[in-house]
Structure formats: structure tokens, C-alpha cells
Subunit: 248 residues, 2 copies
């Protein structure tokens, strides 16, 4: 009998090597990225593909998605492109990285394609004026809760809100120095574990459970503060959660 | 002529030694802590006093404030106790660390004492139920904005929202592994710098400018997520901001 591998807490061991094996939770999982031609979506797609995850980029235009996919293909995981509906249908886990403006309409139109799937909402409802970024009120409470309301047959979690798109999309940057807070309902523990594992395929990143969806809005909104930090300190800031130790 | 010391960005060099000199911005500054007998207020008072800052603890009961002060006195900075109004009158910088319930009433009653002063609001408007902590709506937007509305003759900043009271108040813990986001208006830059310096007298802590008061609510609210993190990982979590480099 072979020994069991040491059990680890989901997400807390960040990816490190490009050729590290994927966690068992992600074996044969296809990740679709809606809004995959925008900076955040493209950056996430790059990192997932580099870790060996098969990725389907979605965009309003299938042609632009295919162009972007061609640029990213050749990393460890195959990258293809389709329109958002095609990508939603193709993915097992569907990452929503579209602008806030249009978030509700897009999801409403894809409720059928997304039924039964894991939907990972990364959207930050922010406005911008000459004083910088500010938080938009969301009737449902947060972008993630809006997604959950519009997609009653999907399992919605929030994640990847505070990760610098610039750093994700920089092929010369080996590690991204940030944690990802994963928000989801207590009864969706397994799905949150999966998304924590997905975050942790990115070298340097840990996926940390950060509470229920009712506590998603402040995580989405914190991106406004990071924009202020970036402006003041000329940085591409991220966040780390302290005191988690090794957590094995 | 003596050489100028190297200029540093306010707050970004954390305190390290108990006998390190205070930054020039804090010379002869008395810090009052309203709610100084609660866990957060007491923890902050302990750390400020340990760094050599003179502290006046405030509490509803002058007697309890004096008792708590006696326990903390004997650190590097003198600690005395008064009722909240007396402490507000005695401090140059007044830290508000009271429970959310009662925040408005307390500040409304102290507007005179607090006129012309720096008021540092640390209050997190949170509710608790069997599912954990959740965010309370605040008519003014945030506790810090409520303070600013009630104290038109004070300079209000928000800070110290996400720091573990347990860690602050542990005399055996040499360093607190967290950053403090300081929120304040752009035109109050000097005051924000001062509060960043105050944060950084705590060993291990950096004080980081985190944006305007309109972006305070999500920083206050993030404490709900840290409570979820603490529950899941059995931690006393804090946050760090990444990518700030040395910032000298």
C-alpha cells in the first residue's frame, strides 16, 4: 500500500513550479474565462494555462477571443477562444471577468449555459471620477450576490477581486505576491475549496476562504483602496492575509 | 552643518525597537484613546505607550479608565485615565475605539472637546448572528464619514480597523504582523502622514495611505472577512499590502 500524501488545506500552498502537477480537484477541469480579452480575464487565463489548466477564453466577439487565445496558446494548458456563450457552455468552472457595466445582462442571458456549473465572479462594481475610484451600490449587495440571484441553478463564488491584472499578465513575472479571498456559502464548501485550489495554481498566490457571499461587497470594493495605494506609492498592490501559518 | 536624515515615506518603516526614537511628527503628541478599556482601545494604548507615546485612556467610567491606565503605566510612555470627555480634551490625537452602538451619540456629545483635533476612527459597523459577522449600512457611508459629519471642526481619518486586538494586547508578542490602512481626504495629507507614523510606532506595523474617507466603509467592513478567516483557520488574521517595496 502506498502512503497517503500529507493532507493540505485547500489553496494555502501556492503554486511554485510551472510543471507542478495540478491538484486532484482540478484534474480534467476546463476553465472558461468570460471577458477573457480584458486585462483581468486575460491575465488569469495566462496563469491558469501556464499551470496546465485547459482554458476557453470568452469574449463578445468570437474572433477577438480566438486571436487572444492564439497568443496564449503554447503554454502548458491548451487555450481556445469562443464567444461568451460558447465559452460558458464549454467550461466546467466559469470565471466572470467582465466590466461591471453589462455584468447583469451578460449573466441573465447565460443562465442556461451556466446551470449546474461553478461560476467564479471577479467583478468589482466601481466608478471613477477625478478623485479616483469609488464604490457603487449594488441592489443585491455585491456583484457576486447579483450573480447568485441571476443564476439560481449555478454555484456562485467570488474570487480574484484584488489581483493586479498587470502582474497576472506579465509573462516575465514568475510569482504574483498576493492572496485571493474566496467568498462563498458555507454549504458550498467543496466549491470554495476547488476555487481556492484554482487560485493556488498561480505561483505565489494562496486561495483563502474569506466568508459568505454577504461579505463579498467589501472585498470587491477594496480594489478602490488598492487603486489609491497604487497611485500614492506607484505600485501594483495586492493583499496578504497574515497569521495563517503553514496550515497543513 | 549636520546632514539631513534620509527622507522616508510616512508610516512605511515599522517600529522595531521599544527604545527607538519617536518620529518628529509625534514629538510631544498626547494620544487619547476613547473606549480605552475595550480590547481594541486597550491594545492600541499598550502599543502606543510601549513606544513612548503619552496616552490618556478614556472610558465611560473615569474609575475604570484609571484602573486600566494603572495596569499599562510603567511602559515607556505615561498612561493616565479619565472619562471620555476628559480624555478627548487632553489628547492632541484622539483615537475612537468604542463599539459601533453608541458611536454617534458619543461623538455628538464631544464635538466641542474634539474641535481642532485629529480624530482617528477605528470603529467597524458590524452585526453578528449565528452565521458570523455581517456589515451594517451606515447612513453617512461609513463610521469614519459619520464621525466627519458629526465633527465638522475636527480632522477625521480612519485607521486601525483590521488589527487583531488579541495581538495588540499581548505583552509577550514583540511584533504585530499587519499593515494599517489610513483613510483621509487628500487635503488632509499631513494628518494622514501623522497617523501613518503613529501606526508605525507599533513594532511590525506599517501605516499605509489607503484612500479617501468615501472608501473607508469597505476597510471597516473587511473586519467581517477577517473574522471568517479567523474562524476557518483558527488565526488572528491581519492584512499586508504587497508591492510597496522599500519606499524610501
Amino acid at each position: 500500500m502506498s502512503e497517503n500524501p500529507p493532507s493540505t488545506v485547500p489553496g494555502l500552498t501556492p503554486g511554485s513550479a510551472a510543471d507542478a502537477p495540478l491538484p486532484a480537484s482540478l484534474a480534467s477541469t476546463v476553465v472558461a474565462v468570460l471577458g477573457g480579452t480584458g486585462p483581468q480575464g486575460r491575465g488569469l487565463a495566462r496563469r491558469f494555462a501556464a499551470a496546465g489548466v485547459p482554458v476557453v477564453l470568452g469574449s463578445r466577439s468570437a474572433e477577438r477571443a480566438q486571436e487572444a487565445a492564439t497568443e496564449l496558446d503554447g503554454l502548458a494548458g491548451a487555450v481556445t477562444g469562443q464567444d461568451n456563450a460558447g465559452a460558458a457552455a464549454a467550461g466546467d468552472v466559469v470565471v466572470v471577468a467582465v466590466p461591471w457595466d453589462g455584468h447583469a445582462d451578460l449573466l441573465r442571458g447565460l443562465a442556461g449555459e451556466l446551470a449546474g456549473k461553478v461560476v467564479v465572479d471577479c467583478v468589482n462594481p466601481l466608478g471613477f471620477d477625478k478623485r479616483g475610484a469609488y464604490v457603487l451600490e449594488v441592489e443585491e449587495g455585491s456583484a457576486a450576490e447579483q450573480a447568485a440571484a441571476l443564476l439560481p441553478d449555478s454555484t456562485v463564488v467570488g474570487a480574484f477581486h484584488n489581483v493586479s491584472a498587470v502582474k497576472l499578465d506579465d509573462p516575465d513575472l514568475a510569482e504574483v505576491d498576493t492572496d485571493v479571498l474566496v467568498l462563498g456559502e458555507g454549504e458550498d464548501r467543496e466549491t470554495c475549496d476547488l476555487v481556492q485550489d484554482l487560485a493556488a495554481v498561480i505561483p505565489g498566490v494562496r486561495g483563502i476562504y474569506g466568508g459568505r457571499l454577504r461579505n463579498a461587497h467589501q472585498v470587491e470594493s477594496l480594489t478602490a483602496n488598492l487603486i489609491s495605494v497604487n497611485r500614492r506609492y506607484k505600485a501594483h498592490a495586492g493583499i496578504r492575509i497574515t497569521d495563517l501559518g503553514e496550515q497543513r
